[in-house]
């Protein structure tokens, strides 16, 4: 197998994985959660590395815990402005805790790889895990498509209809955490966030259904991630940062109608 094929496949799978989660989070008004979870995985990763567990399991637990802590505090603060502030505080707290654990536990963590990943070091297990996350995400979307739509367009009405809002939000947070850990070991925190947001906005622009938005977002994500990786090889640049810059390009092209504007 060519040395670049496995990283390219991971770039393409991640390019689909992140925008799908991003689209679901944006339409649920929970886009800050992508930011929160991607940073909150760090303490779990550090602990897993220190105690010999798979880092993705530690990251998954830690990311989900961060999301639950934020939910707990959100109940005490009203208004979307306060919600953003609570999310940022929990995010910074978990990130700080993760950074503190590194010297305390005496482990070595490559900060550059944490932020931007290293596609060239992709292992088969990374690719399989990303494919597993994509499968799980597809199942979730297939099983809960209509409730996700109802909660997105009218959360109060959906809750009044007896649909389980809390359970759905918890499942969404869990899947987001799995997506983050499955993507960031190869592509890093920064790229996870940019791939969750920019293609999702592109997908949502002009879409007439959530399914259409998800497919458009996944297509744009795969193109920008896969294309970015190949361009990085051509230009001899690190792929992660280049893909992040290309995501801003999506906005600059003026093809995205920002939600709510």
């Amino acid at each position: 197998m060519n040395w670049w094929l496995q990283p390219l496949l991971l770039a393409i799978v991640t390019g689909a994985l992140c925008p799908i989660s991003g689209t679901l989070l944006i339409v649920q008004g929970r886009v800050m959660q992508s930011n929160l979870i991607s940073h909150a995985v760090l303490p779990g990763l550090a602990l897993a590395v220190a105690f010999g567990f798979p880092p993705s399991v530690g990251g998954l637990v830690s990311g989900l815990l961060g999301s639950m802590v934020a939910e707990r505090f959100l109940g005490s603060w009203q208004g979307t402005t306060s919600h953003g502030a609570v999310m940022n505080t929990v995010l910074a707290g978990f990130l700080g805790f993760g950074v503190l654990l590194i010297p305390v536990l005496g482990i070595r963590v490559d900060l550059e790889a944490t932020l931007f990943g290293d596609l060239l070091l992709t292992r088969t297990v990374d690719l399989l895990q990303a494919l597993g996350a994509l499968l799980l995400q597809g199942l979730f979307l297939g099983l809960y498509y209509k409730p996700l739509v109802f909660f997105g367009v009218d959360p109060a009405g959906a809750a009044a209809s007896g649909l389980p809002l809390r359970a759905l939000r918890f499942a969404l947070a869990g899947i987001t955490a799995f997506v983050v850990v499955s993507s960031m070991t190869a592509v890093g925190v920064v790229l996870v966030i940019s791939l969750m947001c920019a293609p999702a906005l592109f997908g949502l622009s002009g879409a007439t259904s959530l399914g259409q938005a998800v497919l458009k977002a996944a297509g744009a994500g795969m193109a920008i991630s896969g294309g970015g990786f190949l361009l990085a090889l051509l230009l001899n640049l690190p792929p992660g940062p280049l893909i992040g810059v290309l995501c801003i390009g999506l906005l600059l092209m003026g093809k995205i109608k920002i939600i709510g504007s």
Binding site: K146, V153, D154, L204, T208, L210, G260
Partner: protein, 227 residues
């Protein structure tokens, strides 16, 4: 539907105090009162979403908590994300999500009733304010309910759209549905209703539009509510 000694408090703040009324099937009632009078809270109590602090709400003698699917609540327009990627038809179809039974109309019939059949494939954010309000009503009509609670359906829409909605509500009540409509409108539109309930924490007046108007001819009260 009947309310007996219904009360509700948010913490120490009493929002509704000993509300009593009985609605006959197929009636069209207006629920009016100033901002903060407790209109939306009362509608949520009637739908069974909120538990009363005191008293009870029953539909055909059954507590509403046990027959919530027979009561549909159309929320205020501001609670909806109108930029969500969804067409008018799909939005209306959500009304059937919580039940396999069909309401007074199927999706096509509901859109026809609210005059949006030609816009079924359009995105919600491409509709005017009045059309959005009608789409919301269309979704409510798809729900399998005997009682429709409409929370300020005529707010922020132009007079022709308001007239259309009032006509539609009358048709629904003639078809046997019981409707309760919260409103800020103290004008001639009140004459369109069978009954008017004036709420301001307690039930201030209750009767036909003429009877209520007579009660409100008390200058102090009239100024208070009409101002």
């Amino acid at each position: 539907m009947s309310c007996r000694h219904l009360s509700y408090s948010y913490g120490q703040h009493r929002v509704l105090d000993h509300i009593d009324f009985h609605l006959r099937p197929g009636s069209l009632s207006a629920l009016v009162g100033p901002n903060g009078a407790g209109k939306s809270t009362l509608l949520h109590l009637l739908q069974g979403q909120l538990q009363p602090s005191g008293g009870a709400v029953e539909l055909d003698g059954v507590p509403v908590g046990r027959c919530r699917k027979r009561i549909a609540l159309m929320p205020q327009k501001g609670t909806i994300d109108w930029h969500f990627p969804i067409t008018v038809a799909e939005f209306a179809r959500l009304g059937r999500l919580s039940s396999s039974r069909t309401g007074c109309c199927d999706v096509d019939g509901a859109l026809q009733r609210v005059g949006l059949e030609a816009l079924a494939g359009r995105r919600l954010d491409q509709l005017s304010g009045g059309q959005q309000q009608r789409a919301l009503l269309g979704r409510t009509l798809v729900q399998p309910a005997d009682v429709l609670l409409l929370d300020e359906p005529c707010a922020t829409i132009d007079p022709p759209s308001r007239q259309l909605l009032l006509g539609l509500m009358r048709q629904l009540s003639d078809a046997g549905l019981t409707l309760v409509v919260s409103s800020h409108d103290w004008g001639p539109a009140l004459q369109s209703y069978d009954r008017v309930l004036v709420l301001d924490r307690v039930l201030r007046a209750d009767g036909t539009p003429e009877e209520v108007q007579q009660t409100l001819n008390d200058v102090t009260m009239g100024n208070h509510y009409c101002g």
